[in-house]
Amino acid sequence: MTRKVIKDSVLGEYTLAQLDSGLSVYIMEKEGFSSSFAVFGTRYGSVDTTFSRNGGPFISVPEGIAHFLEHKLFECEEGDAFAKFAKTGAYANAFTSFDRTCYLFSCVTNFKENLDILLDFVQTPYFTEETVKKEQGIIGQEIKMYEDSPGWRVLFNMLGCMYTKHPVKIDIAGTVESIAKIDYNLLYESYKTFYNPANMFVCIAGNVKTEKVLAQIENGIKITEKVKIERAKFEDNKAPKQHYIEQRLEVAKPIFCFGFKEQLKGEVQTVREKCIADLALELIASECSPLYKRLIDASLINDEFSYDNFSGPGYSAIIFDGESSDPKAVANEILKEIERISREGIDKKMLEAVKRALYGDAVRRFDNTEGIVMNMVECAVSNGELFDTIEELKSINEEDILNRIKGFTEESSVLSVILPKEM
């Protein structure tokens, strides 16, 4: 095992360890806290649909399989993991996103017992033909729920315009048709590939003692041979395949998602690139910006307006979304503001104020164990470290941000709109 303690004068310290099995472990003791939060996760999400194991041929699996596997792992030969957590009183859950699957619990008491349950059920797959079939009904309902979600649809419609090949365009849960193709063998195949300690991480924060927890994890990780995973690369065109898409759903007023497709320099964004995007977004569209004032005063947006740096392995987009009676006018105003900033440059005083606010946000994220652990998970999937954001923020200048903003062009943009149903 290799390990190091990473310290920050304001935020405290945490331990980052790499076990001999290859598992990454992040632990932050939060003295005085009542609860603890733990995640056992794998770098495996909905985009990992085509892969090779140990140099073998590339295989493709049905869309939605990572999420399906997440549901099934709770099942154990002797009842399910939820029943075990019910005995300890812990809150347990799991989620799958584009590039990760995480199993989690939070508890005030019985931490050791809960961690044992977590380590055990994630490493003990158990499915039968019958239970796989049963899950298709539950997940089918989940998929249908998302089909009615305008916020979800508007995002995936936009991604569908941006990416022709990359599986980020596919719903995380897959489709009713794709999950019908999932069977017992495919689930095991995916499990054996991605649920290997070298591809996994454990992140913990709260009322714990690092030494004890590390020892418990070392004991609880099963010895398995390291697996070499190769994920397929998807060569998409630089520009989106179309710039506008609309769909009608039961909504009160149009919902929009206006995104700029970006080209990644590496496999994923670095912490510095993420910080630059965050600063750029604040300067373009925060509630202090001239753009926000223009849009609000013209009643073109409301409280639902937000923005995001949406990025993961092989995909990256800057997104503005919200509700508007005229989404095209909003998109136009955003483009005009980007053009203005590119032309006039960035106000130094405003940049300092935004940096100060992002520092405040970072400090506040260390106020709860879940926030800390989710930060750790982000680090685990992007090979970053927990306090990097605060350090990076200090050294980013106007030029770094302007260079990024200049890439937000009309040619790289997609406007996705959900319109109210025609009367």
Partner: protein, 424 residues
């Protein structure tokens, strides 16, 4: 008792919830006014208007720049129904002074800013400014009309509307769009004056430091405000049992149907008598050990979610689920069976233990979240401020008999189905 309320005036209390574990401090104003169809639209708009600008920061852009300078202080406004009251809340969260770059005094500046929103709004004589009113009216109308965008909460809202009918609890929390549309700056000014003179007021501070003189400041602010007819928020009216179950079906352009079921309770209130009801609704449809999760979702695969929550303060319980339209009757039957089983005492001891443990864990975890502590103490306005820890201790003593007795207080009142167009 861990925390003591400081009486600051007639119907005005302050509460310092000291907690050293946070990097930030939360300061919140809670106002309680009666739920009333005549005032709800104005009252629901007020916190958003008050938090958008002040006399000093007349433009919201300037106000937001001020928040940036205070290390991105988080400002928020909200309204919620609590029994027969409307709970109006304004809060600010600031990082602790010692974590600023140069040990700056931002806590008291943040407190001053929050106070100025409540007491020194941007006015034009005895009216709010036209442009601010117009902006907030648009946003509120969008909030009201946008409810349909989230089908799950929309179905819950429609059930409550249908179930409570003319009872003020049936009102939509943001009021009515046509009333908001015609609202004037003068009307909102009057609503603000009314809020300051008649609401029950609570000021909370959650964190390591109490801003200097904050309670004295609040007292002084109310010195020249005549406080009278303070809202009586102690008891909510009960909805009578339905003679027969009312079933309402509406069709929309959706893929998944939503099924919601509302139950009336023969009792309501707060404090100790609410505890068996909390455990009952948790066993029925709370966590993953609940009867609805285990049997309706897991065993019968009828839905992705199916949960129950009791609102004992008002005396009702709600079950909601996302379903295939064709399964609606099967789900109603399955939910009914689980409900009857509890009423008949068919509950495993281990389920009771699981539920009690989970509820206790949740309560104890509130100490790690400033916003949970804030809401917890805003919830218990009229009893003796039982702490989450004290509540957890009491939960441990709840018996099966008490749970079964609580279950028997509930009767199905209304079923609301939101189904895809063309469903039978």
């Amino acid at each position: 008792m861990e925390n003591r309320v400081v009486k600051l005036g007639h119907g005005i209390d302050g509460l310092y919830i000291k907690n050293d574990r946070f990097n930030s401090t939360l300061i919140s104003f809670h106002f309680f006014v009666p739920l009333d169809s005549k005032t709800i639209s104005a009252n629901a708009l007020l916190p958003f208007l008050l938090s958008s600008c002040t006399d000093k920061y007349k433009d919201y852009t300037d106000l937001n720049i001020r928040l940036l300078e205070l290390y991105g202080a988080m400002l928020s406004a909200s309204v919620q129904k609590k029994g027969d009251s409307l709970h109006i809340c304004l809060k600010i969260n600031l990082i602790n002074d010692e974590l600023t770059f140069e040990n700056e005094d931002i806590l008291s500046k943040g407190a001053d800013l929050l106070f100025s929103m409540v007491f020194e709004p941007s006015l034009n004589s005895r009216s709010f400014c036209e442009k601010d009113v117009a902006r907030e009216k648009c946003k509120t109308i969008d909030r009201i009309e946008g409810e349909i965008n989230n089908k799950r909460s929309f179905a819950r809202t429609r059930l409550i509307e249908k179930m409570f009918g003319r009872d003020p609890y049936g009102l939509f929390v943001y009021g009515k769009a046509d009333e908001v549309e015609s609202m004037t700056g003068e009307e909102l000014y009057n609503a603000w004056q009314q809020l300051l003179s008649t609401s029950y007021v609570r000021l909370h501070i959650v964190g390591k430091h109490l801003p200097d003189g904050i309670f004295e400041n609040l007292k002084a602010r109310f010195q020249n405000i005549k406080r009278e007819n303070i809202a009586n928020i102690s008891k909510a009216a009960l909805l009578p049992k339905a003679e027969s179950v009312n079933t309402v079906t509406e069709q929309y352009a959706v893929t998944q149907g939503k099924l919601t079921m509302g139950y009336t309770c023969s009792d309501n209130g707060e404090g100790d008598k609410a505890l068996p009801h909390l455990v009952f609704s948790d066993i029925f449809g709370g966590g993953t050990y609940s009867k609805l999760f285990k049997n309706v979702r897991e065993k019968q695969s009828l839905c992705y979610y199916c949960s129950a929550s009791a609102v004992f303060k008002k005396g009702y319980m709600l079950v909601d689920s996302g379903i295939d339209a064709q399964n609606a009757d099967r789900v109603i039957e399955a939910v009914g069976k689980e409900f009857d089983d509890i009423k008949n005492g068919k509950i495993d001891d281990c389920d009771i233990e699981s539920s009690k443990k989970a509820v206790c864990e949740t309560l104890m975890s509130y100490y790690d979240s400033a916003s949970s502590l804030d809401l917890w103490y805003a919830k218990s306005i009229e009893n003796d401020l039982c702490s989450p820890k004290e509540m957890a201790e009491k939960i441990k003593g709840i018996t099966k008999e008490q749970i079964v007795k609580a279950a028997n207080c509930y009767t199905l009142h209304t079923i609301y189905k939101l189904l895809p167009e063309g469903s039978n």
